[in-house]
């Protein structure tokens, strides 16, 4: 540890001497790590002192060897988004730069010093808050997943895509920090008996959704930070609504206005693509919750197992209605199920990493996972989901995902 503390001042030292010190530090670190290997270590070729510390680089980038990337696109340039590369995800948090995104009218660039939030309607004292005002309130931080209601919509009728990024990449998980909506509303004083809140974004579409008032009294908050820094523009900088466990679209980005009312607005988004058509011509509206779901992220579609032997099955589980209680994994096409490890932390309305040690015998098989949350809800199969929603019901697809493993180790997306 001594070496690390001396590093702080090393950039002030003459370059030649700096290189010598760094080389010395590197070799002593190697010795400390394992003195028995010292002799072997000296045989590793071409080990230089490393890159100099460039004071102009103030925001660290990834190693050039790490290539994980969102799949990003848009038919018209303004409505579209990006899918998170879940296949290489570790732990439960999604790096902010890889967090999925869905936009309906582009990504606005907002100067936080110009941004304001109006809260009005059924309140005693309608107010306008600047970002400075909002930052002065007591803050809260929570880890929550966000999932687009359309995550896996293309998979509804048949397995169409190859990788878990394509089938499930519209879910991500972050630590969000901001101000409790309940606190802000108590600041204004609620008038009468409001039931709904209109949340409006400051994107081109001024996207609006009706949020139940009870959610504001429960756990909704206005986030200005994500994973320890201010929000990324595509995540709603400088301010977004977080309604934990509710479909992504309701977590209004670039939020500019909240209006309290006794009735919902039945806005465009809540009655068209974010409502669920049923086989009997009924349309289910106000289906806010993202229900219990899980998926094996590794090994998964598009990967190839390198022959029989040990593999760790790893995946993510989450529930918009509560906490993941149990994840079961089947490695024999759903005939038998084993309880997976929940790696923790296991938090409500949050991605939960599960793992299961597995030795592949080299035979063709299909693997899958099934989650249960603390309300007792068990993740359904596609057959069960078809009964609930008709052929055009593509939203809120939380069915069990199967990955087929061929004898040569090739993994593909299948339905069984």
């Amino acid at each position: 540890m001594k070496n690390i503390s001396t590093m702080k001042n090393i950039s002030n030292i003459h370059p030649t001497r700096r290189r010598i010190i760094q080389a010395g530090m590197a070799s002593s670190a190697a010795l400390l790590a394992n003195s028995a290997l010292a002799q072997e270590t000296t045989l590793i070729p071409s080990r230089g002192p490393g890159d100099t510390i460039d004071s102009s680089v103030t925001y660290a980038d990834r190693s050039p060897f790490v290539k994980d990337a969102k799949m990003r696109g848009s038919a018209n340039g303004l409505s579209g988004g990006g899918l998170t590369p879940l296949q290489n995800s570790r732990g439960m948090v999604t790096p902010s730069g890889l967090h999925f995104e869905v936009h309906h009218s582009g990504v606005p660039e907002i100067d936080p010093s110009d941004h304001k939030l109006l809260i009005h309607g059924m309140v005693n004292d309608p107010k306008i808050f600047t970002m400075e005002d909002l930052l002065r309130f007591p803050s809260i931080s929570h880890f929550h997943f966000l999932e687009c209601a359309g995550n896996g919509m293309g998979e509804w009728l048949a397995p169409r895509s190859k990788t878990v990024q394509q089938t499930h990449g519209l879910t991500s998980c972050s630590e969000w920090t901001g101000v409790s909506l309940k606190l802000l509303l108590s600041e204004l004083g609620v008038k009468g008996d409001p039931k709904w809140i209109l949340a409006e974004g400051d994107d081109g579409a001024r996207l609006t959704r009706s949020i139940p008032y009870w959610k504001a009294m429960d756990d909704a908050f206005l986030a200005y930070a994500q994973n320890g820094e201010f929000l990324r523009p595509e995540q709603g900088f400088p301010l977004r609504l977080i309604v934990p466990g509710f479909e992504g679209n309701m977590n209004i980005k670039w939020i500019r206005r909240l209006e309290l009312s006794d009735k919902p607005w039945w806005t465009h988004h809540e009655v068209t693509e974010y409502a669920d058509p049923r086989p009997d011509d009924k349309i289910r509206a106000f289906s806010f919750f993202m229900e219990g779901r899980s998926v094996i992220t590794s090994p998964s579609g598009g990967m190839k197992l390198d022959g029989p032997g040990f593999y760790e099955i790893s995946g993510l589980a989450w529930s918009g209605k509560g906490t993941v209680k149990k994840v079961e994994v089947s490695t024999d096409n759903g005939n038998t199920w084993q309880i997976a490890n929940l790696n923790g932390p296991v938090l409500p309305k949050c991605h939960t990493r599960f793992t299961l040690p597995w030795t592949w015998d080299g035979k063709e098989t299909t693997i899958m996972s099934r989650s249960t949350d603390d309300t007792g809800y068990v993740q359904p199969t596609y057959q069960e989901m078809y009964k609930l929603q008709g052929p055009i019901g593509m939203m809120h697809n939380n069915a069990i995902q199967n990955w087929h493993i061929a004898q040569d180790g090739e993994i593909t997306n299948v339905r069984s």
């Binding site: 038919a75 018209n76 303004l78 409505s79 579209g80 309906h104 009218s105 109006l118 809260i119 009005h120 004292d125 309608p126 107010k127 306008i128 808050f129 600047t130 005002d133 909002l134 002065r136 309130f137 007591p138 409790s180 606190l183 108590s186 600041e187 039931k195 209109l198 409006e200 081109g204 579409a205 001024r206 996207l207 609006t208 139940p212 009870w214 500019r256 206005r257 209006e259 009312s261 009735k263 919902p264 607005w265 039945w266 806005t267 465009h268 009655v271 068209t272 693509e273 409502a275 011509d281 009924k282 349309i283 289910r284 509206a285 106000f286 289906s287 806010f288 919750f289 209605k321 055009i392």
Partner: protein
Amino acid sequence: MSVHNRKKIIALSAVAIGLSFGTLYASAQEKYGFGHHATADEIARYETDIHIDGKGLPKGSGNVALGKEVFDVQCAICHGENLEGMREMGTQSMHEGRRDIAKLPHSTALFDFIRRAMPLTDPGTLSNDEVYGLVAYLLNETGVIKNPDLTLDAKSLAAIKMPNRKNFIIDPASKFTAEDLKEE
């Protein structure tokens, strides 16, 4: 310190002050006081939404003919000349499926959405007359109100009962029932 604790402490000190001086001053001190009061003028500048009872609908009017004129110039390039949708532009048919105009539960949201979000590359530039005209054109074109002379304004638009409203069911998990959301 949690908000709850903070309030508790404020309340306790208020009680203490009250006991000492015989007066309670708790309520004023419970607020942080950040932000400024929004005047009616300020709210009017922000507020652009239309409620289902028509509250918020602006002055003006437009008919099917005006709507068609605007549609052909501003909308057809992405939505197709006959509202059929253009996959390459990311739009869907307005005659069937999820964007079927006839399936909408209220006409107010149609007005609201066109006014706030369209045209995609230049939202907020249509006049109120043009938006009324577009709603009239779309309702006539999709057969919801078969009347090529249809003219809409705030009053007539708010009075429209969309036939598919009855097919909307409410997810019970929302904690609302059909009764809760009944419209007069």
